[in-house]
Subunit: 207 residues, 3 copies
């Protein structure tokens, strides 16, 4: 298993947990848990692989991915009732999964020598699309559209950090590590301290 596959597998497991938590909020049965866990877990990476024209989508090449998402679903099915707040757990696990999936997307695009714009987009898309599908299918407001939170921003800055690191001569794995840490730090800061960018308001206040 390569380093990039390891990143994918980690992201798949954590995103799988968030999908299963969403299933618990929708009161599905165990197969519904597995379905939503797999959708969330492989959604972003599948988009990345299809758009980048990889010969084989990552979870077709390595069936362990689906088994890992399934294990996450089963784990949540039997333990979620122990959680104080499933919504809060979902948000924090989603932050962690984002911080692993962004470097997974950036790393793959770098390894295929994509232009830097494409590398940045692949980081953001791989990080965000699984969760976006989860929220759209569950008919919830996507986390990425929540007002006054850093989400797409955390993913984008993480990707830019990785690109800067590579440009400055960092090794690829070190750049991906810094990318993941920056993404997580920004998202966590947003969840804990309300860090945010100014949002659009239709009529700015007059002075």
């Amino acid at each position: 298993m390569t380093f990039l596959q390891g990143l994918d597998l980690t992201a798949v497991f954590i995103f799988g947990l968030t999908g299963a938590l969403a299933a618990s909020r929708a009161q599905l049965d165990i197969v519904g848990f597995v379905f939503l866990a797999c959708l969330t877990a492989v959604g972003g990476g599948t988009l990345r692989d299809v758009v980048m024209g990889r010969d084989t989508v990552f979870w077709v090449a390595e069936p362990l991915m689906i088994l890992s998402a399934t294990a996450a679903a089963v784990l949540v099915f039997f333990t979620a009732h122990l959680l104080e707040s499933r919504l809060r757990a979902l948000e924090w696990l989603d932050a962690l999964a984002l911080a692993v999936a962004v470097p997974a997307g950036v790393g793959l695009a770098l390894s295929m020598n994509a232009p830097w714009v494409v590398v940045a987009i692949m980081g953001v898309a791989t990080g965000t699309f699984g969760g976006l599908m989860r929220d759209v299918v569950c008919n919830e407001l996507p986390l990425i559209l929540k007002k006054g939170e850093l989400y797409a921003t955390a993913a984008l800055i993480g990707a830019v950090v990785a690109l800067t690191g590579v440009a400055l001569g960092l090794s690829s794995s070190l750049a991906l590590l810094v990318c993941g840490l920056s993404t997580f730090a920004l998202r966590a800061g947003s969840l804990l301290f309300g860090w945010c960018l100014p949002v659009y308001r239709s009529r700015p206040p007059r002075h």
Copy 2:
């Protein structure tokens, strides 16, 4: 036309009927019927073909598919007012389409010698994604997320039955037939008799 194409064509027509019924509930015009019918009819198979890396997506290779979904849309546009309950018709036709599309997905993945995990996922994805897109676009709660019904479960068990059949030495077409029958039986049992698996509850009853 091969056996697998025949399965695809059948699933396309029946899913097309369900898409058109959804369009009738949204009070669209005839082109809206065709649009939703085509989206529902080819959504699952397109995902399957793109993820499996087929050279040509099934409905690009065989334009009859789109014509068949279009015919389904026109048929529903002029006859849906004769139905007692369009929602009930939609659910039963969706069950039938599921029971044809799951073997269509399993059959293609088997013919490409995919690992068994991938075969099972392709069965479920081909069976469920067209209907999922239909429901998401129409802003309805997806059938697959309905509490206390067998849906993903019916598809998954159908796929597992096919894999078991093949492992036991059944011919591929016989295994696909048993797969379709099991899927339909489970889904129909759920619609008729309320068969279901236990669903997740946040706080299990204490004794």
Copy 3:
């Protein structure tokens, strides 16, 4: 840059404006604007390229596309408060983008010698999927499902006009021009004068 790439770039910029307007209605920050602008801008063309099996998706081959959608997002972020009605601006820009994206889809499919059914579908899909994703992600009723408006119809008739033009011996670029004009005329007529096709009603009036 080829003629088809020019069409794509124009559609990307205008769809980017509509995505950013949707972001302003959801009160997102600047990165949220860029995210929704890019999703809307490249959604339809990405689907087209993946389904047609192009070697490289158009915006991976030409990173200018993403920069153009980003520029549209920034422009809207700083000027949208000057608009009288952002919803009305969104609808009209969406009509314009549709009228550029339909010929972009038709043109690519023609250049790959696709069967005419596939050409028509590619026109409609390229024209409508970006906006559909924008509306689904924002949890709004998709424009394409609005009762009593020409939308899918405008796209479909535009595609049929292009096919007719080519069959009659028009040059490809002239056929695409007429295609875009017909699409825009029908959609604009629907917005201005309420042009529509009869919609389905569950119980037709009795005489």
